[in-house]
């Protein structure tokens, strides 16, 4: 096991083999919600990046902060209650928070397409689906009404909606949940974005449609070289399409690695437990679906210890005293656990630097 090379690598992502610069970078993001019961530290220093053509899978239990991270990247969280207390988002090297409203709008929907988690409520109920698809086409691509409509029909056909021309004039409530999610995908893809952020895009869909949407996204990635961030509960989906996987827990990334590496050997106990919860498709079916006992914490303060410690079978003294930093072992496999030598080394280097 090669030792970590010093500074926590999450701060400076290593150059990838292809040498391409990341198109979207999230750098030590911190988000706090000011609620009636006090502050909730939802995101505590999340860093990740995606390069063109890359698909990053993000997994984690409900409440681990996946959606908040993604929405914060486009500055879509309502404030109050959300407050970004630290970190930066960079698109093609440019700081998103220092962008003017016009540049931000071009980014939203134009350069970055977003598919939201809940298709039932994410479309405006009083406008036709066609109108809602045409909106970004006209705003970002400057298409005429007629051109936009033609393109919208093509997009609906692309996401597998039958008789797309006619359905443009239907309202969202005339579509099923799965169909609405396809409409959301069509909207996200409408302006051929450089980055697609998909927040559990297939959770509401049945397996065949899931596969269709996955194919669609894969195809788009190869055709346009878009980078994709795919948030899901379903590690099975991740295994099939992702290049890299980031595992989130309590508003932090606790493990990040190439997909093969993490499935071959998860290093963080939480990631390991998550992997055990997926039913093995090829091998024997387990007696019952395993779940991780216990609940994810609600953090009233930034984590001062390993947030997983109360649920971790391997927890020891240090886990309760200090939050482990995410560290790379030199192969691009990162973990944040005191059982890992690279984490220990990174913590020492960090203290030495101080």
């Amino acid at each position: 096991m090669p030792l970590a090379d010093g500074a926590p690598l999450s701060r400076a992502p290593a150059a990838d083999p292809a040498g391409e610069a990341p198109v979207l970078e999230v750098d030590r993001l911190e988000v706090v919600f000011d609620t009636r019961g006090g502050a909730v530290h939802a995101i505590n220093g999340v860093s990740f990046s995606v390069r063109p053509g890359e698909l990053l899978g993000v997994v984690g239990e409900s409440g681990s902060g996946k959606s908040v991270t993604m929405m914060s990247a486009l500055d879509l969280l309502p404030s109050p209650p959300a407050r970004r207390t630290g970190g930066a988002i960079r698109y093609q090297g440019r700081d998103v928070s220092s962008m003017g409203p016009k540049a931000l709008r071009k980014l939203r929907g134009g350069d970055i397409g977003f598919v939201f988690q809940d298709p039932m409520t994410s479309l405006n109920p009083v406008f036709t689906v066609g109108y809602q698809i045409c909106e970004p086409l006209r705003a970002h691509l400057g298409l005429s009404r007629k051109q936009a409509r033609k393109r919208a029909a093509e997009l609906l056909a692309m996401v597998g909606i039958p008789s797309p021309e006619a359905r443009l004039d239907d309202y969202p409530h005339q579509f099923s949940g799965g169909m609405r999610q396809r409409v959301m995908v069509a909207i996200a893809l409408s302006c051929e974005p450089r980055v697609i952020i998909a927040d559990e895009p297939t959770t509401a869909l049945d397996v065949t449609i899931q596969a269709q949407i996955l194919d669609l996204v894969r195809d788009l990635r190869h055709r346009t070289g878009a980078a994709i961030v795919w948030v899901t509960h379903d590690l099975g989906v991740i295994a099939g399409i992702a290049d890299r996987v980031a595992v989130m827990y309590a508003g932090q990334i606790v493990e990040e690695a190439p997909v093969a590496a993490i499935f071959a050997g998860p290093r963080h106990p939480y990631a390991a437990a998550l992997l055990e919860t997926i039913p093995d498709v090829e091998g024997e079916r387990p007696e019952r679906l395993t779940t991780i006992p216990g609940q994810p914490p609600i953090l009233r303060a930034p984590p001062a210890a390993c947030a997983f410690a109360p649920r971790c079978a391997h927890a020891f003294d240090r886990c309760h005293a200090q939050n482990p930093p995410l560290a790379d072992d030199g192969t691009g496999h990162k973990a944040a656990c005191w059982l890992r030598p690279e984490t220990v080394a990174a913590a020492e280097a960090g203290e030495g630097a101080r």
Binding site: L76, G109, F114, V126, E135, H173
Partner: protein, 336 residues
């Protein structure tokens, strides 16, 4: 939608019949005497003849049906004849007569209607025009000084009755400043610029008093509706598509927020006539409100019956309009 509207209209007929029966019956119980206002020197036999000539000798049910036929058939036919110039039948129909003036009630109402419509209608328009922007901005800038001020404004506007604001306005603008007339001159005819200015001047106070009252209520409602919609997921979607804040607020949010507000606007309209009764008294606008008050004071039962019934018709009609508007604005509602 069309079948629904027709069905609802069909339902409205029995509803209104029941209402008319109740109104007629309850008012009939009132111990009013059409001859009470006449000089004391008139002997009792003559009084009795007058009563009989007014049809009061008939039993209740007969009188009710007579009134019904007069109001529902004869009067509409009269109005139709007047509008179109046709002659239907012999043109000699029994009409609902006012006990006080002995002239047909409907003619009185037609005389008084324009004043009330101007005051009520304008005040409602003013109320809506003030309330909607205030509601939208208050919600969009929740807890800002604008919102706080809006809250205060509507609390005050809503809790102070119109007869008080009316008198206050008169004291300030008529008595102290002398800017506006305190009495509404119905005989004024708009024919040139000066009379137009005079008309506007005399309309300002009654319209504003009612309008501000309406606005205070409606702006709260609008604010709540916009706030509710601003938290919806589709707003986030619109922003994620790169729409401007103007589009997000004035197209996506406003359109949804208007659905309940339009309904309330339609439903409240008949109540505003009620409010006009008080305002008309204060500013001496001789509209329907004054007609009603005068009729009540004079024990003029036919006029009261007819006016009350017209208000009832308005309520039923605007309920229907509210429902239909709801269906038009919200594509999710399907009545069929």
């Amino acid at each position: 939608m069309l079948t629904y509207t027709i069905r609802r209209l069909a339902f409205a007929v029995p509803t209104l019949l029941v209402i008319s029966f109740l109104i007629f019956g309850i008012l009939d119980l009132a111990p009013s005497d059409p001859t009470a206002q006449l000089p004391l020197t008139i002997p009792p036999e003559v009084r009795e003849k007058i009563r009989l000539s007014l049809g009061l000798g008939d039993p209740f049910i007969v009188r009710y049906f007579k009134w019904l036929v007069q109001f529902m058939v004869n009067e509409p036919l009269n109005i139709l004849e007047q509008w179109t110039g046709w002659t239907i039948g012999d043109g000699e129909r029994l009409r609902v007569l006012s006990w006080q003036t002995r002239s047909p009630v409907v003619d009185l109402i037609v005389q008084r209607m324009p004043q009330t419509l101007w005051v009520v209608g304008m005040s409602y328009v003013v109320g809506i025009v003030i309330a909607i922007p205030i509601g939208v901005i208050s919600a969009y800038r929740q807890y800002s000084w604008f919102d706080q001020f809006g809250t205060l404004f509507s609390m005050v506007g809503f809790s102070i009755p119109t007869f008080f604001t009316g008198l206050l306005f008169i004291v300030i603008f008529s008595v102290t400043l002398g800017w506006l007339p305190s009495i509404y001159d119905t005989t004024l005819v708009v024919e040139d610029w000066d009379s137009f200015v005079a008309q506007v001047k005399q309309m300002i106070m009654p319209t504003m008093v009612l309008g501000l009252y309406n606005a205070s209520q409606l702006s709260r409602f609008m604010r709540a509706s916009v706030l509710d919609n601003l938290n919806q997921d589709y707003v986030r979607t619109a922003r994620a598509k790169g729409m401007t804040e103007k589009v997000v607020l004035l197209i996506h949010v406003l359109r949804n927020s208007m659905i309940p507000v339009v309904t309330v606007i339609a439903l409240n309209l008949p109540q505003v006539f009620g409010g006009a009764i008080i305002t008309e008294q204060i500013f001496r606008v001789n509209g329907l409100g004054q007609l009603l008050i005068g009729a009540i004071e004079g024990g003029d039962i036919p006029t009261v019956q007819t006016l009350t019934f017209i208000f009832a018709v308005l309520i039923v009609v605007f309920n229907l309009i509210a429902d239909v508007l709801y269906g038009i604005l919200d594509p999710r509602i399907r009545y069929d």
